[in-house]
Symmetry: C2
Subunit: 406 residues, 2 copies
């Protein structure tokens, strides 16, 4: 099997690598961040905006698109690329995360180690069985069923370039015993997904397996080996990575250590992780691509990314102290928001008034910020300066600004 | 007084004229439609988008900006142009329409001849007096006061290129007697606005008076003469124009007939009118610029403008019949939505999911449609073909398409 990933350079001081992932719809420069196009759109942006920010690939959501508008409908439109007018690479997640999040509070809560928030939701898991998962649609309450084969069938219909296998996303609060049994089921489902894809899947579609195993060293390493040595094109690291950032980095590292041995050339995706320090650490650990709702979601709530490690690289633009601020989000930032001169005061006003343009402008800024961060990291690997660049970024250097100034 | 409007061509078969309105922030090609930037933003768009659609001027709202973020704050930012990063001409309405709409159901209902809908609203008029209007803010319930001088002071602080005087917007259901007395007060307020502006207003700011008089021929003509012969730079036609389109066109025509006699060179604005047939008729009646919430507001509710006079030039994209439609909103349309190939089916899906991108894309289409319509009308006046062009547009020719095909 020829690897879809051409590794151009490896960092001598870490596991990091820079390369190019080749897909049926073009190349992805790695390491890369992948913006979410959950419901066939990066919220508030057009495809031309996303490409203009330097992104090669977006991530669509199998679960949501299965429910609405339905994969058969999207297939009639010629697939997800044509439907949403994005002609670059698309990765689709498998729906496992979303299906299981209906059963365990939100999986996002679980993954962050928070107790379930018990929000009212019309969707709910009805049954988890070996065959698959029965659940109620959050759209209309209809009973639906998703098996590993369903997920692959949906992703085949969507025509994504990278499909993820259907997994059971084990919650953080699960016991070790539950996690072990759940992980074994994930491996059986991996087999079913690969079998389905070999027989029915689009030949040009890459398939990524998903590593589970909770926060247990042996389970994670075993899962990584099983997934990494199967006939997958790439490996995604999923599930709960722990309660703290240190634990998250450690757990992800277990997988990439094993992968460095058993599948050194296969591309690796870290699921749902995208804070600035996590991206830097993930790159050092040898992750090739990441997706996360954070940059776009926090933007719609008025939070902008800034080079401020003390405050999780965020500033809350809705704060009263910005009422009269004529400063841009970030001095010298070349994003469409800062470069046009929109002030924090104006953005605060728009965000408080829930104006669409405010959400759009901060989304553009945040995605531009992360795009420059990934470009900095990639360039540093190619130039052998990752150690210095990562250190500078961690202590608050603004991504891309030294580069654009040079 | 030198007219701000340079008339380049007059249509021999109607009152229509094409020209250039000169303002402190540049020129406006007339006849023109003016998109609403009510709260210092064209909802969902950036200024570069609006300019890219061919618009020279936008309209900001004195009433809303007075309440939030406040004109003093905007002045500290250097004025509305700098605050919202629009460096072209800006017209600000006076706030009269909005203040009075709190007292009479919505004025929009009134102007369309509908009964008040009695929607729950926290804002309310407390007192209408000769001095001005006391009302409760819809933002926080605070008691506020707006007099003619307040409106001019706010507009001076905003630094708009065209200010409108403060008027009493007489509702449709008012009696003739009330309308007559109200119109007289509007004239006294015009005098106070002009006096305030002469002493305190920015010298480069143009001031437009507002004609009232309801649907009464003699009151309208008298109001037009009083406003048109005062030292205003331009004349806006406001208030209720009647219950039907025929009446609206007749009432607007009374004013432009009088203006053709008493102030033929002064620019004329028709307030709050923007349906396709109304724009065509308005241009024939000698209106130079129009504003209206319609194209942007209906876009956010999923309605797109199309050359279909039978259906008020609209198509409701949320209709179930578009679920599988791979057609663009309008074949051959050069707008950013149609040109990128977004289908009605995809837009329907986005709109039903309340996705921001859906609202943005239809807004871009609608404003592009109206921009091409106005360009067609202007070119026709300049080339002496208004009669044919207007007839074609009325019967369903797509604006701009024959031109772009030629």
């Amino acid at each position: 099997m020829i690897s879809a990933l051409a590794i151009l350079s490896r960092d001598p001081g870490s596991q990091a690598r820079a390369g190019v992932l080749r897909t049926a719809h073009g190349e992805v420069r790695t390491p890369a961040f992948v913006p979410l196009a959950t419901k066939a759109t990066v919220k508030g942006l057009e495809p031309r905006d996303v490409a203009g920010l330097g992104y090669d690939m977006v991530l669509g959501n199998t679960f949501h698109l299965f429910l609405e508008p339905g994969h058969e409908r999207i297939a009639r439109f010629g697939g997800l690329h044509r439907f949403m007018r994005w002609d670059g690479p698309i990765i689709t997640d498998s729906g496992g995360f979303q299906v299981f999040s209906m059963g365990h509070g939100t999986v996002a809560d679980e993954i962050k180690g928070r107790a379930p928030q018990g929000a009212d939701r019309s969707g709910a898991i009805l049954e988890i069985a070996e065959e698959g998962v029965r659940f109620k649609s959050y759209i209309n309450g209809d009973e639906r069923f998703m098996a590993p084969e369903t997920s692959m069938e949906v992703q085949a219909a969507l025509g994504s370039d990278l499909a993820l296998v259907f997994d059971e996303c084990t919650p953080f609060h699960a016991t070790r015993d539950y996690t072990a049994r759940s992980t074994e089921r994930t491996h059986r489902w991996l087999r079913r997904c690969l079998d389905w894809h070999a027989e029915h899947g689009p030949p040009e579609q890459l398939v990524f397996g998903i590593v589970q195993g909770g926060v247990h060293d042996d389970l994670r390493r075993e899962s990584t080996e099983i997934v990494g040595t199967s006939e997958v094109d790439g490996v995604a690291i999923g599930g709960s990575l722990g309660e703290t950032k240190a634990q998250m980095h450690e757990v992800a590292g277990w997988s990439t250590q094993v992968l460095d041995e058993v599948a050194p050339d296969k591309p690796r995706h870290l699921l749902g992780i995208g804070e600035v320090d996590d991206l830097i650490r993930g790159v050092e650990l040898g992750i090739d691509h990441f997706d996360c709702a954070m940059p776009t979601r926090i933007a719609r709530h008025g939070m902008a990314l800034v080079p401020d490690p003390e405050r999780r690289w965020r500033v809350d633009l809705t704060g009263a102290r910005f009422k009269d601020s004529d400063e841009p989000i970030l001095d010298g930032c070349p994003c469409p928001c800062c470069a046009a001169g929109f002030s924090r005061g104006y953005l605060r006003y728009l965000l408080k008034a829930r104006e669409l343009t405010g959400m759009r402008l901060v989304t553009l800024h945040n995605l531009a910020f992360v795009s420059r961060l990934m470009t900095d990291l990639r360039e540093a690997i190619l130039q052998g300066t990752l150690r210095e660049v990562a250190a500078a970024l961690r202590t608050g250097a603004a991504p891309g600004l030294s580069r654009s100034a040079a």
